[in-house]
Amino acid sequence: MGPLFKQQPKVTAPLRSVQRLSTKKKQDYFWAYLFIFPTLLGTVLFNLGPVLYTVYLSFTEWGAFGNSTWGGLVNYKKILNDPVFVSSLKNTLIFTVLSVPLSIALSTVVAQLLNQQIRGVSVYRTLFFLPVVTMPAAIGIVWRWLYNADFGIINYLLNLFHIKPVGWLIDGNIALYSIIVVAIWGAIGYNMVIILAGLQNISPQFYEAASIDGAGMFTKFFQITVPLLTPTLFFVTIISMINALQTFELIFMMIGPDSLVIRDTQTLVFMFYKEAFINNDKGYGSAISLVLFLMILILTIIQFKWQKKWVHYS
């Protein structure tokens, strides 16, 4: 080491600053790993372990109660040839593409309205929050009644205008869209809470400055609110997308495995449920959830790369 050092005397000054950086970096790393340690440990222990087991299962032909035999790619080959997989995938994508943007847009408008200094705003907020605390069974019953072809309110109203009754939940062409409406309806309460929280972070000074410049309501919304809200909106977008691609409860509640339109509304997770718990083929079910996982992962990564284009962080 000696001769090398002597040959490059100019290295001494930068070397000292590298050392200083290194201490700070060491500190950084220490705090960073310490802070993420509990979450990481929990994730690895309670989530990743089981998930890896699921990966393993996807390569097996499942027997009962944990007995499985290695099957290689048999489940994945089955997926490629399964028309139900294709239709489930299609339904899932339609559902996501329609429900996510619409629900985010609506929720943002609603959150903005609920962020105004008007009388009774906390009453309104509570009312909009009610769907979030309403029991899913109750939500299912009410919506199913609304949509009921013979006795439902919607068709009753249509009848007043001499429009023929529509089979909202029993017509294969319409059922999926009927459900999307319910999904959007239900998402508003959730998203509103998050977006409201995000709105609090926007300093009123920005609005004041804009008002002085003569900006109107819409200008303020699109030039100030939305850009500063983008970190929150990014979160809502990702989470909504991840949830939408995994829709199951809604389908189960509003349609159910025995309905005649299940083939038109079945989502990928529903298909997983059917294979894993009704057909008791956990191997195949695991393969399906893994394919879905990869899809979601790729879409999420794409979204993360894209965020540079539209998300403004401080």
Binding site: G42, T43, G49, L113, A137, A138, T232
Partner: protein
């Protein structure tokens, strides 16, 4: 100048907002109102099609019957414990991790974040049985530990708070560093207080999910003394049909605390405007 900039004067503008909100609220409250009304109906009234909207009389006995058939107080207590434990844990651990991901550069950061996030991308039912096996392995079945500890680490919470931290101005961090603060101090004294709205939002959701968590408690616990509210309600849904009045009554009782909490937490959403904002 400001009065002329918009076509509507402030009074009209507020009226429009009220109108929109009223119409919107009506859409939102339907199922909840139905839930309340049905809680007072008789069995017959609740199953009619087309539905009977108003009960002939208010059957308060639905509520008392509920306490007779199920140990509701035990359920409340268990749920309270479980929800509080999970929420506190989530608030602490998620905010810590979120801070690290938002404010510190370290090797493997993006990969680890994606790793944590990826848990959200797999339907939980697909690995619930292996999770149970781990509980068996640890000997945690039929315990409060099993209800709380696995849920302490929320990818949702970590992601949410990360976004909040990312939107805070770096000047705050830099000022504090110059003053000689380390990460812990920056985190606890400066950024965390500013993240109150986000923390509250997270608390609301975490409480909600713990409150409604059904499948996990039923897989990991068998003894009635450990069951939470959601299980109690689920037992009212029978194999061949459900006693809807009882179920809705129970659901109301279960929901009330959450609702009260939400109303109470409202103020922090308004106060947030005063708390946040750069100082100087």
């Amino acid at each position: 100048m400001t009065a002329k900039s918009g076509k509507k004067s402030p009074a009209h503008y507020k009226t429009v907002i009220h109108l929109l909100l009223i119409i919107g609220s009506l859409f939102m409250v339907g199922p909840f109102i139905w839930m309340v009304l049905t809680a007072f109906k008789s069995l017959g009234e609740s199953t009619q099609m087309p539905p009977v909207i108003f009960p002939a009389r208010l059957r308060w006995e639905n509520f008392t019957n509920l306490f007779d058939s199920l140990p509701f107080l035990t359920f409340y207590w268990n749920t309270f414990f479980m929800a509080t434990g999970r929420t506190l844990g989530a608030l602490v651990f998620c905010s810590m991790a979120a801070y690290a991901f938002a404010r510190i550069e370290f090797p493997g950061k993006n990969v680890l974040f994606l790793l944590i996030l990826s848990v959200l991308m797999i339907p939980s039912q697909s690995y619930v049985i292996p999770q149970y096996l781990i509980m068996v392995e640890f000997g945690w079945t039929n315990s409060l530990k099993a209800l709380i500890i696995p849920a302490l680490t929320s990818a949702f919470g970590t992601f949410l708070l990360r976004q909040f931290f990312l939107s805070m101005p770096r000047e705050l961090d830099e000022a504090a560093t110059i003053d000689g603060c380390n990460h812990l101090q920056i985190f606890v004294r400066i950024l965390l207080p500013l993240a109150k709205p986000g923390l509250i939002a997270l608390a609301i959701f975490q409480l909600l999910w713990s409150w409604n968590d059904l499948l996990w408690p039923l897989i990991v616990n068998n003894s009635p003394s450990k069951m939470p509210l959601a299980v109690g309600l689920a037992s009212l849904q029978g194999q061949y049909g459900t006693n809807y009045p009882l179920l809705m009554a129970g659901s109301l009782l279960a929901t009330l605390p959450m609702l009260i909490l939400f109303i109470f937490l409202q103020r922090y959403f308004v106060q947030g405007i005063a708390l946040s904002g750069t100082k100087g």
